[in-house]
Symmetry: D2
Subunit: 480 residues, 4 copies
């Protein structure tokens, strides 16, 4: 069994929560469906019904994890859910499922977390030193412990006390028997939005596309550093990390710019900016920065499609589906022993010969990570008869790994970190290769420079991080 | 559990066969992957190893049916496979799996069949009257019986004797311990191509896209009425149904024109015509026949994409992804009890508001069957802010059911069979609605009128058929 | 994965049928539960509801094969079922499931068969020669074909015509939409009983123990050569194989005597003789024939228990459970690589040291087949401290294989076929070894000699059989 | 789906551990097989390989939970395992699986626990108050927390500090990366033995029968209050709960006397007393205390068998299997809607009519809990023709629930707690009913009175316990 070629950065999670709706768990189930692109390894839902917490979690896609009976058993009018893309280190670790649910002195609580804490290991060591025990290797368990340790009277206060101790990226949804809380870290690395649903209910989601599916009304983005408490007394907003007290003041915003390039679904809107529009402007910008003589603009589907369309509209070169994607591909498949050319990529992508034959082709992709897939695609396109293959990448070269919740290779494995663009062009065997500039990216996304985390392109990490990504190894608990 | 909205005609099968390759079963497995769009209900592979036939079949997608151990057990250098879209009548009937495999006086044989026989019930009754027993409700079992009854010495002769007795549409692959046979009915309703693979091996497939995946070389289409026998002595071609003897003379070709509109994958080439190209020309033709003032051309994904692109290129109106498709949707999903607007369609398609808001939208879809989904999509697009919605359909109105291997509703359920275009427009709530003309369709596909089966648009059935589609009911065998 | 040691002859099947009961399928399910000892490889139920036949079959124990939903779907007031112990040749062949169900010119029919036909291969060859096709390698499929070929008007007549052509051992239950038929071959090799259930319903079963469970009343044994037709017009009995016409005359009875020794459940009654009583008398007889000085009589559980009790009561030597059986053992288990002494037997049987230590032990077992397990048991008993181990076998030496529906090793593998008793004693390392005499067996079972098939002890085969058991190999169809 | 009738007290667990064996996990797997009678709801194994802990746990029988791949993945030379009979309160709670595994400041640790802590809720509340979080509702999690909180340098010391705080019954096995620890509570409620295996390895087990299976040598019982530490430096024994310091002094032993009556396997030896021997002496004693005129002694299988044999040998009344048990019964089965007499008991037990007909029957069972099953059995025996049914129970009346690790009904549900023996006789419809006296029980087990916990017969609870068994309800976490 091998995995289909997929040389991308991967988002680690999507979160979704519903408050005060008679079918809370079912709406969360649908919300996770719409957020499935943010994580395909495992999924989970926890609902609360008075002081009982009901849970259903498992490995696999939302469509496979939950059966009708599961949703029925998830009673209660509030529920939260999580989809997860597990990182290389914990593949096969069936304990790392979310939402996390525990019983504490204050009753049950559940947390669904998107992000990564840079001081998780240190905090874990300290917690263990005072006698805390851990059942998973997830950062989120640290937050749960810190919350449980707090002496504050209110759930939100306890959570805030916990979050004051952690550093890193997080958009998390917490729930106890009476409240639903959504919070983004002060930098706002990972997105979260707030909506209304049904008759007085509320919803929190990583992206707006999940609101659309359940017929919820978008209210607004949860702000960086904001904590939204939803309870029987309505919604209250706090800015607990703000230096000037819990009033609305966010010093610096650092939403992950890669959400616009690849992670978010094109029909989502982040911080008021349509992802689809941003991707089209990126393509347009790319065409201006790196024009090329060609007969056809071909996207690498699906992620390259909007930027290729933007490139085509700017350049006037016709847009065509020169590569067709097979959407029935499973997570793994059985490989023949005898080699087939460009096999790993062909299971998912096939060259559409008629479109390519004899043409000078502009091939638009969202990013180059290791370069292995790009190389196979270029070769496949050329084998289909393309006269020239000009690769245009809808982002700057990715030279640095991410420590804020995205699964990226080590720096050594990032092609751009130790190769010039010309070396990269040779490696992927293209006739030309060009990347969008950082300025172009900013211009395309929001028209002005700044306000995003661009560490993977620049190495400017907004939050200090350990030298080595996983400095201390935990006692890994494996299996289920 | 409900099914996501999908108001389409459905192809009933895809077939694939490999001869003389050390990894025959694995190549068939990959071929079925590439043909998955032709049938998602069940899949099966049979391989032959000397006089043993190994079989693996099951319900579900190729990725779910076959495990690595299954492929290993399918030993032998020849193998055939099948993917199936079961018709309404036999859903849940786990006995109707293909390929069929039986033991006969001449040894084992296996058959994979794409199509539908119009005289299957009569033949079955006659066979039963002489004592034959049936284990499924599939037409194909009739062919197997007739082949087994033949007194001819050679496998191909026995199969020909059987096929001389059946009427209808078929593209089938038969295999015994020494030979692989591909055959299309004299009208050539369903497609089949021939290719080379590996070192002296051959491959038969419903479509060329499956050849691409396994690195096979396309040789040619199997002709209507042609029987291709592949054996240790190479390839031999026969035209056994030709009035003037088994020489190459095909009176009339009737390839299903809907293959170009919807069934085939866009990267396939049928009868020398690229499906993608045909769809783009269809869109272009549609723009010429039914122009409209608008700001944006939006496809209903995925099937409407190439024709929408053609429409856009012809009309000059920008092409945009105004509807985003979620490709993670399973075959069924759990529905909330409380109604959500346009729910069935939203689980798969979401309006991309920014593209639609305030715009006059040309919505391009491949066909209208019952109209129920079209209505939901139009409403969803309008709810997203579209000012006007002009629906353009990339085919003529479908007024008649198919009896040649496609799953279509009864005539009464076909919206176009008993409504004018204006009535249909009102039903789907569009501002305007227009269909491609039959002439336009022919022009777009091959430049001249004729040579295709267009019964679903015209009621001109190339082969006489029973008044009622299922006149005599069989003793249905249910379960597994 | 290995199988627990189990060196026994194995019954190949149990059959059960219910007519005219609102919960027919559920009663069959329970009946199969009670007949599980007759076959643990697969199980199946077919019910008839007007002209529909519903089927549920699978590999494994009754408790695992059928889910509540399955039984619900098996609608109708008649149903038949089957449990199967597959023979070595077709292990893993998931096509050989029973009951067989087919559609014929006369409508659907289903058959559940216990037994073995000695001329099945010849009949199959002849059927294939006239064009019949086969989907399994089971004898039963021959009967189905022959029945379908008959021109007779009534189901029973067609079945009789078929059975007139077969030779061998069978107790079978056939069902069509209006009738349930039970039939035993003229020799009556395999058992079958008739009972009443509910309000006017009837039941057919391999053994009486299954009647007890469902609260049915035992009416009588179905006689050798008898065909019982149960229909809307009540019960009719025929003797179609009788030379003097279909009146009650059975020339020779040949019930398998091994049913009393091992196959049947001790709480069943066959031909008016309680199996438990017969086994106790066998033990008593064994004690008379082969007395021994000892302190304790220990059965090899579970099959040796009643004869050990009889031995104890006759000899006055105390009966003790010196070997304890673990009933939680699955069909296979994972074996450690490092060897453990007597491992294969220990997973199921453990020596009860306190009972054995320092004792002269009479170990009573039902039979010796290959002798491998006996050897391990003797060694385990001795390792537990037994001073002497005297093995007493509750049957004569098994020198010949069975061709009438029992899974036995080849003659070469039968320890008794090529070793003297003294050689066998040495092999199993016992202090003494003795077998019940054939006369003793007859005396114990029914008081007089004759009336049973004893071919496995004598080589006197009541029906001629082919030289070699499987002279012609079929095209084996493997997999599912 | 219903459960087969089984009106017994139920042991809650079995534990097993292996130290220093190359196939530790496989031996644990086999050990759990042999301990399956102590718990059938779930099973789990944890192995340690340097600082990694590998885990495999699941619901169901050992044979179903572990696949060959699972055992392979459980690498390392030490492993512990657990089988569990879940109590009514947490059925369906898939989080309550053992062994528990956590990561602490001192590295990973795993615990498998047989027993019940009477102050678990208080301790849990206190732990939660200081910020500890809980992931299950099992007592064992309290022990894990307390161990993690200890500041002691050594694993054994930390565990001892934890155990000093708990009150109740426990036999537990704890493991970290270098040591395996077995410990019994000071009263010694639950059993545990120590053995040697392989070349220098050690094994801990709830019962000796598991040692036999893996070929281990029995060394000795772990003493009440003893803590056995097995490590690279060999075995060390401590008595940390002894008032006079950690030297060998056990004030009072309170092994659960019901282990001899029902829980333990007959081939096990507890505290030097063979369970089989004890049961036979119990039957003998019962015959002396409550003689009866009868023709046959019949056990309720399997648990009543040894005491029935003892009764028979003492009384001289022949022992017969008048009730036959079907060992293929699953944990649940599908019940017909129409009532069948004595149904729940018949699925497992069938009357052997020939043995019972016209006889005065002594029916020997191990205990009467609710009396519902006894009543059905008596009726079934009488329906089979028994002239008189005299029930003899191999234990005193069970009048009080257990709080030390056994699943018993509430006091109100215990038939003996609020009925005289005569009332009980009438309820179960027996001709006579008699229970073994407490003195008789003691005499039978070890020859002298005292040394066991007999609270379920006397209400003399060795450890104070809360008024109500579950005084404070936890936030139940449900699901997986």
């Amino acid at each position: 069994m091998i995995l289909p070629d997929d040389d991308h950065f991967h988002d680690e999670c999507g979160v979704f929560g519903v408050y005060a709706h008679p079918e809370a768990a079912n709406l969360v189930y649908l919300g996770l469906y719409a957020l499935q692109h943010r994580g395909q390894e495992s999924a989970g839902i926890v609902s609360v019904e008075e002081r009982y917490m009901h849970m259903s979690r498992g490995r696999g896609l939302v469509a496979d994890v939950f059966k009708p009976g599961d949703i029925e058993r998830l009673k209660g009018s509030s529920a939260i859910g999580h989809v997860r893309y597990s990182t290389a280190g914990d593949k096969g670790n069936t304990r790392n499922l979310q939402p996390l649910v525990v019983d504490t002195a204050h009753g049950g609580m559940a947390i669904a977390h998107n992000g990564n804490l840079v001081n998780a290991v240190e905090l874990r060591r300290a917690l263990e030193a005072r006698g805390s025990i851990f059942q998973s290797t997830m950062d989120t368990e640290v937050v749960v412990h810190l919350t449980a340790l707090s002496r504050h009277a209110h759930f939100a206060e306890r959570l805030v006390e916990a979050l004051h101790q952690v550093q890193g990226a997080y958009a998390l949804i917490a729930m106890n028997q009476s409240r639903l809380i959504g919070v983004r870290d002060p930098a706002g690395f990972r997105p979260m939005v707030l909506g209304r649903v049904g008759n007085g209910g509320y919803v929190l989601s990583s992206e707006t596309c999940a609101l659309d599916l359940i017929g919820a009304t978008f209210l607004r983005d949860v702000e960086p550093g904001e904590l939204v408490v939803i309870g029987p007394d309505g919604i209250t907003s706090y800015f607990p990390f703000s230096p000037g007290g819990p009033t609305r003041q966010v010093a610096k915003r650092n939403l992950c710019v890669f959400e616009y390039i690849y992670f978010a679904r094109p029909d989502s809107t982040l911080d008021g900016i349509s992802v689809y529009d941003a991707r089209k402007r990126i393509g347009s910008c790319l065409a201006k920065e790196h024009p090329v003589e060609a007969e056809v603009v071909v996207p690498v589907p699906d992620s390259g499609v909007p930027s290729a369309l933007g490139f085509s509209q700017e350049s006037g070169i016709p847009f065509e589906f020169g590569i067709i994607r097979n959407h029935y591909v499973g997570r793994t498949f059985i490989e023949p022993q005898q080699s087939i050319r460009h096999f790993g990529v062909k299971i998912k992508l096939n060259a559409n010969n008629r479109v390519l034959q004899g043409k000078r082709v502009v091939l638009v992709d969202d990013s180059v990570v290791r370069g292995t897939t790009s190389r196979k695609i270029v070769k496949m396109v050329r084998a289909a008869g393309a006269r020239e293959v000009h690769v245009r990448i809808a982002s700057p070269p990715t030279t640095h790994p991410c420590f804020y919740g995205i699964d990226t290779p080590n720096r050594q494995e990032l092609l751009a970190s130790n190769h010039t663009v010309e070396e990269m062009r040779q490696y992927i065997t293209a006739d030309s290769l060009a990347f969008l500039s950082l300025e172009g990216l900013y211009r395309a996304v929001n028209g002005r420079v700044g306000g995003y985390c661009d560490a993977c392109f620049t190495g400017n990490y907004p939050i200090p991080f350990p030298q080595d990504r996983r400095p201390v190894q935990l006692t890994l608990l494996k299996g289920a």
